[in-house]
Symmetry: C2
Subunit: 160 residues, 2 copies
């Protein structure tokens, strides 16, 4: 059902697959529908950690990561709706384009979380992470090292 | 061909598609094979801008973005190799796991660039961006607003 002001594509992007992705593991978290924090900042404020459980075949790909390091975690948040162009989020004033929102409703429902590694089990292929807003069981697409040289916009400084 | 120390999966992830992605547009850049900067930092140092040309049907999804804002640009860098677990990059010392590298060779070849919007053409669905390391014609998967509250690891500060 559409909320006021929302505009949808004339097609479902799920029916226009141009490439295939594979799931390399799952996120294990305390969260599900209705209990998950709205974003990673709020998730971090709960103090609850989480885990990334890789398919064991991918465990060697963790080589070189270390505890305390920040990573970019990419995960698949497909909840069946991929066709909204303009959205009217509950928590935000006014309508916005999908590409101006972090909503899971988007043509390619790939979510991105910058999280910190709290433990590494190389044999099992399991990472502990400091926080996630993802529901338990969410498929994982990728893990990348976070680098300030490319992941912070030029000239950005934290507020004092 | 494998370099010394490299280890591959026993299968090609491209043959294990569990979900489909669609291309929402293309990156237009000065770069191609052999000329592209190795990463976004080096791309920025060239002073060359680039464009994101959306499929016009997606243009309304840009509503709410503004010039000067940083975005997370997700793009598809499939160069045919998705099966390496351990890599031996030319420019890096020693071998590393794929999840400790930003290499385009990965199970799901999704690249991520934090770039700044330099212009917006809402009618055409075209964004100017300050820099990219992507080859001309690279498929675009997603655009997200960059937020310091979730895209900077907790406690990180730039070096003085």
């Amino acid at each position: 059902m559409r909320r006021e002001g929302e505009i949808a594509l004339p097609f479902d992007p799920a029916t226009r697959a141009e490439a295939g992705i594979t799931f390399v593991g799952r996120i294990r978290s305390p969260w599900g529908k209705g209990t998950a924090p709205k974003n990673l900042r709020l998730a971090r404020e709960t103090g609850q950690g989480a885990r990334v459980e890789l398919d064991p075949v991918y465990a060697p790909a963790l080589t070189g990561l270390r505890v305390g390091q920040a990573i970019q975690l990419l995960y698949w948040v497909d909840r069946g709706e991929r066709d909204l162009l303009i959205q009217n989020p509950h928590h935000d004033r006014g309508i916005k384009g999908t590409f101006a929102l972090r909503s899971p409703v988007r043509p390619n429902p790939i979510a991105l979380g910058t999280v910190v590694i709290t433990s590494i089990d190389m044999e099992a292929g399991v990472l502990g992470i400091d926080a996630t807003d993802a529901w338990d069981g969410t498929p994982v697409l990728d893990i990348k090292p976070w680098f300030d040289s490319v992941d912070v916009p030029p000239g950005w400084h934290p507020e004092r």
